[in-house]
Every structure is written in structure tokens, then in C-alpha cells.
């Protein structure tokens, strides 16, 4: 569906595709197919090499992901039917997809391009705290992120209250919260002198009505911005999600497909997560008409993706897509530790390193597993983006990245289960100026210098 004429042809399959009982879809359709393609394409996780440099493995993961998407399709929980595409249609969508898009507006517009494995072009950097934030801090935190020098795009925090009321999905308070959310973003962008900066908005909207309510080129989400549309875990959608896809395409803004395959869940282990990441990317392109795919694979128990069983699928899936397509895709980090801890800096640096050399763009950083309100700051994202720029500029190889990854894992991996929650935004940032405290900055600088000694050549 990269071309609009496919929109209704494919969406009609929501009503005409094969019927399947929802209870059967994951255990009887999805999970067996995942196992089948892992075996067929001989995909094997190696914990000793979190960043493999095996092109043949990457290509096999691509083929396995393709077969998984083609044969399993996407299940609509409202109609209980499966949307499927043929090989020919997938090829057509990949052929007609663009490898680059201008996003944002005016002087702030940025050309976002497909990356290759070990690409010297820096990743496109989307900053996002990914966590809920209280009303009194939402504006300051938005401002803080927009002041980041390497920012190419912003997904602002989720607004927890609006006018003192909890934002409740599918209620009028959600629409009110979404309006407040985008106004905060617009004002902050203007104040920092980046009025046309690219937004991913608005994260406060869980329901389609909230998203649609803020589509407005004057004050709201513009056609130069993007929305993200979720795919339910695993490989399910709903009419509410398809509504968003149709709205974005008809409104004319970009959209990205948001997916979170679960390690330990229906995908199984690392191999299944890798294959699913590829399949989800084809789903985003072909069914939602997405220009990019936003992936946050995560560990069932930890809710994070900075341990090696998640870094491996991130690495091989990124390489699979980089070598075999011209798609855009962002790697969304989920750290175990919270803000202003040494651990969150190590985790973010490691996630960004693995992702960048493997062809991904960056989306950093959900701190403390995005579980706690106000627990995220731009500083952890900053170190990730700086690592991304550095390793691209120095044309780091996967082998070199693997060595540094192992050193970084030594620093934090054993603490994944009981990672420190860290501090809240207002404890490590000055709320009025939206700048980090000296203590927070000093910790960031110390870890950055330490990482530089491992072989990462920061430009500043």
C-alpha cells in the first residue's frame, strides 16, 4: 500500500480474508510458522556475538521474515479475518517505496534516508522519553528535548493529566489532553527557534479519536509530521488502528508502524524476535502505508531491550532490512535503569551502537522501562545519539562494534533484573530553564569519556 490506489483494495481484505478464531491465531497460525521459518532458514542465536557480521545470516532472516508475513498476514480483531498479501504485492510495495523522505518544514526540514550496514551516514535521531509525565512538567520536558543539538525529530512525553483531570483513553479528556500536548510542542518548538521541527505526535492519544482531533496544519499535527500506528502483539490489528492508517493517508501526514515483538512471548526467543521484526516492517509498509517502522522488541520479564538476547535480534534484523530493502526503520531503546544512573548511560550507548552499525535509525530512550512517570531525561538520549553519530562517522565495522558491545554489557548486564530506578526529571533538570543540573551533566560527561576510551571517537 505504498501507493494510495492499493488502500481500499487491501483494506477490504479485513472483511473478506480468511476467518480465524482469535484464540487460534497465535497458537495455531503464528507460533508454528515462526518455528518453521527459523528451522527452514537455519537461524541460530549466538549469545557470544551480540553483533554478528554474517551477511548470509542477515539475508536468511530477511527471507524468513518475508515468508512469515506472507503466510501469517495480519489479523483484524474486529472482523476476525486475516489480511494477506502475495509475493507479487510485497515486491511491488518494496519497489514503489521511497528510500528517503523530507520531513519537518521550512528551515527545519530534514531529509531522512535509508541506511546501509556500517553506513557512514549518521542515523536520523528521534528523541523520545516514551514515559508519562505530569501536567506541570510536560512543557518543560518538551522544551528540554527540543534543545538537544542532534535532534532530528521529537516524540514528546505522554501527558498524564489535562486541566487537572487524568487523561482517559477514548474519553473527552483524551481529546483535551491531545490538544494540550500538541500546543505544548508547538510553543516549545517556536521558543527554541525550531518551529518546523519534525514531530511524532501525539503520544497521549491511545484512541483514534484523539489522533484525528489534532490534525491541523496551523496549530496541530502537520502534514510534515508523522503519527505512529501500533500493530498489536503479535500480528494483530483492529478497526480503530486501521482508522488511523486511513486518516493519516487521507490527511496527508506520514505514518510509522509501531511494533513490540516480545522475547519469551509468542515469538519465542531471539531468533523469533529477529524474524518478526522483518515481518512487521513489511506489514507496516504494505498494510498501514507507513514510511517507517518503529520497533521496540522487549524482554517479557524485564520490559527492556539492552541485554544481549535482544541486542542480537536488533542487530541481525537491522542488517537484514539494510541489505535487502530501502526501508526506513527506527530502533527504540528500552533501558532497565532510570535517569541519572551510570547504568542508563551504558545501556543507551550500547543500544545505539548496536543499532547504528546494523543500519537502524535511532529512537532513544525509554528509561526505567518507561514504567514510571517523569522518569526520563534528554541526557540519556543524548549519549545514545552521540554514539550513533560517532560510530557512523568513523565507519565502525560490526566486528569492532561487537567488541565494544561486550565491554559495555560487562558494565550493566548482570544488573538488568534489579536495575536502579534513578531520579525523576525535576530531580536532575532545572524545570524553569529545562537544562540539566551540574551533577547530572558531570555524570554524563564521565561516562562519555569512559566510552570514548573504549574506541568511540566522539566529534565533540
Amino acid at each position: 500500500m505504498s501507493n494510495p490506489y492499493r488502500l481500499w483494495e487491501i483494506l477490504k481484505r479485513s472483511n473478506t480474508g480468511a476467518f480465524c478464531d482469535e484464540d487460534d491465531f497465535l497458537p495455531k497460525v503464528f507460533a508454528p510458522k515462526v518455528k518453521e521459518v527459523i528451522k527452514k532458514y537455519e537461524i541460530k542465536y549466538d549469545p557470544k556475538t551480540p553483533v554478528p557480521a554474517d551477511d548470509d545470516l542477515a539475508d536468511r532472516v530477511w527471507m524468513a521474515g518475508w515468508e512469515l508475513f506472507r503466510d501469517v498476514g495480519l489479523y483484524n480483531t474486529d472482523t476476525h479475518r486475516i489480511i494477506k498479501l502475495s509475493d507479487e504485492e510485497i515486491k511491488e510495495a518494496l519497489y514503489t517505496a521511497s528510500d528517503r523522505y523530507w520531513v519537518g518544514a521550512g528551515k527545519d526540514a530534514v531529509l531522512w534516508k535509508h541506511r546501509k550496514v556500517e553506513d557512514s551516514e549518521p542515523p536520523f535521531c528521534i528523541y523520545s522519553p516514551d514515559c508519562p509525565v505530569s501536567e506541570e512538567l510536560h512543557y518543560s520536558m518538551t522544551l528540554a528535548y527540543l534543545q538537544e543539538p542532534l535532534l532530528d525529530g521529537l516524540c514528546a512525553p505522554i501527558l498524564e493529566e489535562s486541566m487537572g483531570e487524568k487523561v482517559r483513553s477514548a474519553s473527552p479528556f483524551e481529546i483535551n489532553g491531545c490538544t494540550q500536548h500538541i500546543y505544548n510542542m508547538r510553543l516549545a518548538a517556536k521558543q527554541v527557534g525550531r518551529p518546523g521541527v519534525f514531530f511524532v505526535a501525539v503520544g497521549t492519544a491511545e484512541h483514534d479519536s484523539g489522533q484525528i482531533a489534532v490534525s491541523n496544519n496551523e496549530w496541530g499535527v502537520r502534514t510534515t509530521d508523522t503519527r505512529i500506528i501500533g500493530t498489536l502483539t503479535e500480528f494483530k490489528t483492529s478497526d480503530s488502528l486501521l482508522n488511523r492508517a486511513v486518516h493519516c493517508l487521507q490527511y496527508g501526514c506520514y505514518n510509522g508502524n509501531l511494533t513490540g515483538p516480545i522475547y519469551g512471548g509468542w515469538c519465542g526467543g531471539s531468533e523469533g524476535v529477529a524474524v518478526s521484526l522483518v515481518a512487521y516492517s513489511l506489514n507496516g509498509l504494505c498494510i498501514y502505508g507507513s514510511i517507517f517502522n518503529q520497533h521496540f522488541p522487549f524482554h517479557l520479564n524485564y520490559g527492556s531491550n539492552t541485554t544481549r538476547e535482544l541486542l542480537w535480534p536488533i542487530a541481525v534484523a537491522g542488517q537484514a532490512m539494510a541489505r535487502n530493502s530501502k526501508l526506513l526503520y527506527t530502533s527504540n531503546g528500552f533501558a532497565n535503569a532510570g535517569p541519572m544512573t551510570e547504568m542508563v548511560f551504558y545501556e543507551t550507548a550500547c543500544h545505539a551502537l548496536v543499532s547504528t552499525v546494523s543500519g537502524w535509525h535511532l529512537w532513544e530512550m525509554a528509561s526505567a522501562r518507561n514504567k514510571y512517570r517523569n522518569r526520563a531525561t534528554p541526557m540519556e538520549a543524548r549519549i545514545g545519539m552521540e554514539v550513533g553519530h560517532a560510530v557512523a562517522r568513523q565507519e565502525m565495522t560490526r566486528e569492532e562494534a561487537n567488541e565494544i558491545t561486550l565491554k559495555l554489557l560487562e558494565k550493566y548486564e548482570r544488573r538488568a533484573a534489579d536495575a536502579p530506578k534513578g531520579k525523576e526529571y525535576q530531580e536532575c533538570y532545572h524545570v524553569d530553564t529545562a537544562l540539566p543540573t551540574q551533577e547530572h551533566y558531570d555524570m554524563y560527561r564521565k561516562i562519555k569519556d569512559e566510552i570514548a576510551h573504549m574506541g568511540i571517537e566522539f566529534p565533540f
Binding site: P27, K35, I158, E206, L232, W266, N301, N370
Partner: protein, 213 residues
Amino acid sequence: MSIEELCKAVERGDQEESKQIARQLIDGGVNPLNIISSLTEVMESIGDKFSRLEIFLPEMMMSGDAMAGVVQMMAPQIKAGEAGSTKGKVILGTVKGDLHEIGKNIVKLLLESNFFEVKDIGVDSDPVKFVKEAEAMGADIIGASSLMTTTMPHQKEIIDILKDQGLRDKYKVVIGGAPTSQEWADEIGADLYCPDAGSAPKLMAELLKIKVR
């Protein structure tokens, strides 16, 4: 055929073989209560392996289905109240506006494996539906899952409706889901917060003052 072989078949998640062996055991005079006791131990071990991710969700679900098939097949042989007596009745669902289901489904399987009676009311469930279904079932517990920050307030709405209808003391309200926490449970007055699926059976049993294996 032996109970050990049945346990292995359940561990492999082989539904047909499990039922076949169980049938042979019963025909051979083995007490169904002994079979259930052994299978419960197996499921406990499988649950432990899953909690450490030594096995993954598909394998655990297959074992759960295999055990459920055996228990269902043996039901006529078991006198009422002899075995598998309900440790508690639970209404379980994902709250309004939220379409996520995986956590809820894992909790359901683990509860059923521990002899809770569970009615799953699905995703995107209105707060009133939780209450009405609890009334209809005669439930002990209302379990509400939320995976999104903006759907968490609907967990509170369930408690508010129970209070408004004078039913608050009739049910234990249990919450869970990625963005939820003990702090949130305390704030809204929930009776229990489950930090993960694996802990749910034990914590819920303790909540009802029932000892779980």
C-alpha cells in the same frame, strides 16, 4: 503407561498423546486424583521454567492446553468437590480503550493451572462490564489489566463503580500491566498489585487466604 509418561507428554504439550495416556491410566484403575496431583506439579515446574524464560510462551500454552484436555476428559470420573475445587472465581479482562491481551492471557493460564475458575471478558472492556460479570459469576476477584498510561484510569473506574453500587467489599480488585505499580494500586485503592504474571496465582491465593501449592 505410567503417570510419569503422562507428565512428559504434558510437558511436551502433546494434547492427543496426553489424553490417550490418561485414558489408559484411568481404564487401568489409576485414581484420577493422583493424576491431577502429578499434573499440577508438572505445571508448577513448567510455570517456573517459563518465569525464568527457559521455555517460552508457546511451549507453556501447549502444556497448559494438554493438561486442560486431560482434566476435562477425566471430569466424569471425579466426584464433585473431590479435586480441582475452585480456589477462587476470577473475572479477568483488559480495561476499556486498551487492546493488549498477552499479559492477561498468561495470567489466565497460570490461574487456571492453579485451579482458579476464570472468566475472561477480553480486551477493551467497559468498567461496568467487569462489575456485571462479577455479579453474574459470583466472583471473588476482579482482575483488570492495563498496558497504557491513558487506560489506567479505567482501573480506578471499576473501583469507583463498586463503591457507588455498595459492592466494594464484595470483591477483591487486582490490577496489573506494564505501566501499573504498587503506588498506583495504593492510590486507587486496589486490593492487590501483581508485578508480573508468574506471581499472580500465589498473590491472589494469599489475598483470598487460600494456600496454593
